[in-house]
Symmetry: C5
Subunit: 341 residues, 5 copies
């Protein structure tokens, strides 16, 4: 589910509207990083206690040198920079995925406009096209979203839900035996065929209307193909691994390097012992939080708080497309004359 928050900050008032967002828990950075923070603190205090209580003076001096070494050299890994580029890439791909989402609304309006007839057969044909479009979208979602796949694991579940008739299932099964390719595009083909039959039967008045309908159906198929493409060709594993290794190793050595050393030893930048590594912690929340942005967007096909709501969308598409595509004459108001404003 996507966490909406911008409506809360439509107007900038008083002290920066962003500050009001800090108190949100749902979909927040706190919810995403508290486990990591806990582990970080545990490790930190483990070493802190060892240093303070378990080591003798000679060992302390060694520990201090190791700590200073870590503190100085972990900056060799410029995670700020690489995270900036990586997150930018992920965010732009995430939005690309959103733009590839198929919406059957335009097709439904076109159907309502260009596929004439109020008799039973006309309505059946219109409804069948709508059903096929929803079926195609659903089959696509099943291929990419584990959450949808869990609800509709097989063709028989489509039949149960009314997306597929028995005879259509047989057709799909028959083709399954002939070809191992996925069958996701067949409903779109069927929809085109029904439109074509409508044209031959005179329900679609002219070839221009047919073209409008067919083009829109194929555009939906194109969207589905794009979604499959986003799923197949993710950014290379190497990139994700490099970034993850960089960030986590950076903080692994921060556990050592950010220890408060004995102020009496007069090490540079170790003037005082505050016990709580507040800046390391802030830095940790900041970078890990930034990485979590990437983590929650890299595959928006799951069921995270920032993922696309596929399960809700399926229902929405079905209802909306029937409302727009087959509301019958009852759905249209009569025109009345009106004066010029």
């Amino acid at each position: 589910m996507v966490v909406r928050y911008t409506n809360k900050i439509a107007n900038t008032k008083g002290f920066g509207s962003f500050t009001r967002l800090l108190a949100k828990w749902k979909g927040s950075v706190y919810k995403l990083v508290w486990r990591d923070v806990l582990v970080y603190l545990l490790l930190y205090y483990l070493f802190s206690f060892i240093y303070r209580f378990a080591l003798d003076d000679v060992q302390k001096r060694v520990f201090e040198k190791v700590s200073l070494h870590c503190s100085h050299f972990r900056t060799l890994i410029p995670i700020s920079f690489v995270l900036g580029f990586y997150v930018s890439l992920i965010v732009s791909r995430w939005w690309g995925m959103y733009l590839s989402m198929p919406w059957p609304d335009t097709a439904s309006i076109l159907l309502s406009t260009h596929f004439h007839g109020t008799d039973a057969r006309s309505r059946m044909m219109r409804c069948t096209v709508i059903r096929y479009l929803n079926l195609g979208i659903l089959m696509t979602f099943c291929m990419i979203a584990p959450g949808v796949k869990a609800i509709y694991p097989g063709l028989e579940h489509f039949v149960e839900a009314g997306y597929l008739t028995e005879s259509e299932k047989e057709t799909l099964d028959r083709l399954e035996r002939k070809s191992s390719q996925h069958k996701t595009y067949l409903p779109f083909l069927w929809a085109c065929k029904v439109v074509e039959r409508g044209r031959r039967e005179g329900k679609v008045k002219d070839e221009i209307s047919q073209k409008s309908l067919t083009d829109e159906i194929l555009r939906l198929r194109g969207c589905c193909g794009e979604l499959l493409g986003w799923d197949d060709y993710n950014i290379p594993l190497v990139y994700t691994q490099v970034v993850t290794i960089a960030v986590y190793s950076f903080f692994l050595f921060s556990v050592l390097g950010e220890q408060f050393l004995d102020p009496a030893q007069n090490y540079p930048n170790n003037l005082i012992d505050l016990y709580v590594p507040i800046f390391s912690l802030l830095q940790f929340v900041f970078y890990i939080g930034w990485l979590k942005v990437a983590e929650s967007l890299i595959n928006p096909f799951g069921e995270d708080e920032h993922d696309f709501e596929f399960t809700a969308l399926i229902g929405r598409h079905l209802e909306m497309s029937y409302m727009l595509g087959d509301c019958g004459e009852a759905g249209f108001p009569t025109m009345v004359s009106e004066a010029y404003w």
Copy 2:
């Protein structure tokens, strides 16, 4: 309201035209940050007074160590970098939203060109299409802009304003009972249907003209759908929180870290006591100002000084579309011959 200023700097003259912009108040950075600056200064001088007058010498030495600690370690949070990427993202999304705004002008010109007839019924049908387009746009604005929603909280207000007839309202109410989906796209469907009826009645001469009209109506619906999409799928809350936490915690510790310490103590970079933390203040104005750019653009659907002027646009769309779409033969000049230039 958008604050226009570029017309002031169309020509670069003398000392950089940008300097002339610094004196503007409306929509300026000063107006956005003065509250934050005030709080910052209050906190700063609170600590400053404590340090200077309330603490004894031993406590002063501790305070100085804490201050130096803050001064050194707050640079661990690279807000400059993350703000750069974040603001870039926000600005590009803001422009994407602008590009999704629906303008009924082209549809009106097409209507004027392709929907023939000067009799009452023809004019009524043309005006109805224009009304439906404006209605659809208005319903979309109601869903995303709180300012517009406040003016038109319910269907009855559309009726009052003349956007909706009673019979149309009944149709919408009837559908409301059947489906919980939003009804924003129905006016566009109705518009397509009126065009279709015009085609059957011979007012729209051929199917090519009908396609031009229908395509443009559906493009407008697409724009409305995009606007809803921008509103639903904002950038993840995590990202905004991470940036906000980073910037504000950076300056929280700047209050401590940027104190002028006793020059007599000879701390590095504390040679002199200027009383006014001019550079911290500049840095504060700079970074908070940069963050405010993001704040004012992240949701341009409100009523801030940088938000889209939805209320004004509604009136503009209505007037413009009637002017272009139904100015009658009186709106067209007679052609006269003219010589080659």
Copy 3:
């Protein structure tokens, strides 16, 4: 006027072709920054003389501390980074504006191809369409470019220049009384209507040709609408102010911070007194020059050296569109057979 220079560096020869560009004055960075440099140097040497001759030793020590303070803390403002992002944004918007420029060439070719007839009325109708397109573009330019507005401040000047007939002016005046909206799109509507009349009179042979013509006319109107949009929705004033404040305050304190301090005092990085602050100056030219890139591109609708040449374009469009759109049969060569190459 845009300063062309890339033709000078089409081929990379010898020592980097860019070095050859350094000697250009017109449209150069020198021309844009010399005033700022002068003021900077005046201020610099004012303080320098005060330091060297007006202050006694104690005051000198204070001055030195202030200078060192400025030198160290002005780096808190990361102008390099923010300028990079800001200039990137401005450049991409500038190019977006260029891409929105309307060119009537394609419409003229289409007119020549699809609007048949060599009789007087046909030619008159063709010329009228061309005139309307040029008028629409001109009216748009008047709204955004002060330079064009100065030449054509009112409708009567369009009439004088032959863009508008008296009867058309009356039509516009009549509409002006009915609606306060701008009338820029009306010529495009008129052009569509003339094409429609041509279709009815059989001069435009079929509805496909009419669609080609109408689509292109509306595309031009779309370009004009985009130009108005770029002009209305500029990047927020906040952003421009933040960047300007950052850059100028950075250099205000550089005047103090980059003074050559007495080498005898042994301050770090103050080993030698060169009298001329060559590096500060270079830095100044560099950053102010970078800011000037933004300044000259943020509103390319003026008459700067990097602005679009609207006045020249108006004449070009008129001449080009008449040449392409109405050259008559005399403009077409007779076909002769030729052998396969």
Copy 4:
């Protein structure tokens, strides 16, 4: 083969899903960098052993100075920044290449919809169009992907595989003698011609359907042209060389500069001798890994783990296009009426 992994991280659970990716070997950063790491370590320990055991004290002091010199000055090369921009560029080009990939699915559906007839000749013509499309795509792949070229080195191999008939091969051979240009676009021309013949024979019902088919065929040809363009106009060699030189020379001097020097000499940041240069190694893995991202994406036409799977795609395209384009009436379910949901 592309290594899929995002399905593993669809849901963010527990400790950041990215950590789960670190254990993957296939397509991982470890697999790509282990050779480089080995060489790096060999060189490192070679110098380390020389320093520790082969040099006398005077030589050691010289070595230490050289090492400190390297350590300080190698930071002059800002590889972090240039790698960020370079990898961004490569990634965006890689995705551009993916978007240029031709998919014959839409063309097949259009063929199935608009190319009527169940007789032998109709089916033959449909199948011929499909075959031509697959042939055109295959010929394009042969020009850019060495792996495909290896399987189909000449026209006779197309004939063997059934993509080309003997008579078609003769036609190509005949044209080969007349023109040295590549013949990749001819199959698309042939496909257009077959559609044109189908139109004349009445199998394609109207010119709108023909246009749909022809447009889609030409779009596929456009994709093929784009792929050839990506292959011909890669980013300049200079850029790649500059980046490579920067990264490798950076690490060449890191071998010297990151040696642990004798702590007894009290050099800054050389407090302790850890024997294993853990931070240099991490930095090495990080930067070289980042460079490998670019390396594996710059030409995705090979057979690496991140390259497009051309060989698999050929088979997929053939099977999918026949399934969609010629499944016969058997492939379509009969419509049954259904109730409104």
Copy 5:
């Protein structure tokens, strides 16, 4: 000529494929920077010899202070950052130019498909259209590419090369007297007119086919217009000058600042005298090489190793368009039936 190299690195094997690219000379960074490196070294050793042999001890101390001053302050100019943004901009514009290149291939296929007839007149008309398209492209290239202009300096050279007939040249000359605008778009207009005539003569069967042809011809004209636009509206001279000044002044002062100073003086980071300024040199090669990337891409219309091969493209377009557009029935294979795979 574009230097192809990615085919060499299609597969990543062994030690990073990029290392294999380092040995290339053609189009390499070495070839572009060796002159600059030479000058840099000459200057460097000039100062080095002066310092070592010409100066007495007092002068040496002054030189050392100047050197240290340069060494410290030249970092004020952040060339790394500005180069990153600048090169990004140049590369994206370079690719935009590539995407604007006109390719007559699609038009030729459309001509072959939709312009019927095997008689002499039909072939002549087809060939004339092809000739006009190539002429229009050639005239565009002449306006932007000095190399092409050198081959075809005037209209008479087009006639000689067979691109233009005498009567067409007369038409152009006649128009030249009437209008000073460039005549580059006229051949496209003529091509549209020939298609229009073909439609009237029944060689183009219907208006849809005519529209396909006309649209494609106008798309080519649009590409030519875009190329002229890229050439006219380059990025502002200011930007290029700012970057060039920054880079070259950075290295001018590097000559002084990177001198090896007498180690005996114990200046920081001057522990050892290596005689060869290896890191400065690397830095020089790196930055100047990066700048050269921009230099060779800013105007790809020349004859550099990274420029578009206009001269070769002209021949390629001519041959390819005749092959695709007029290969006659001999160019089409006869269809044979084939079994389902």
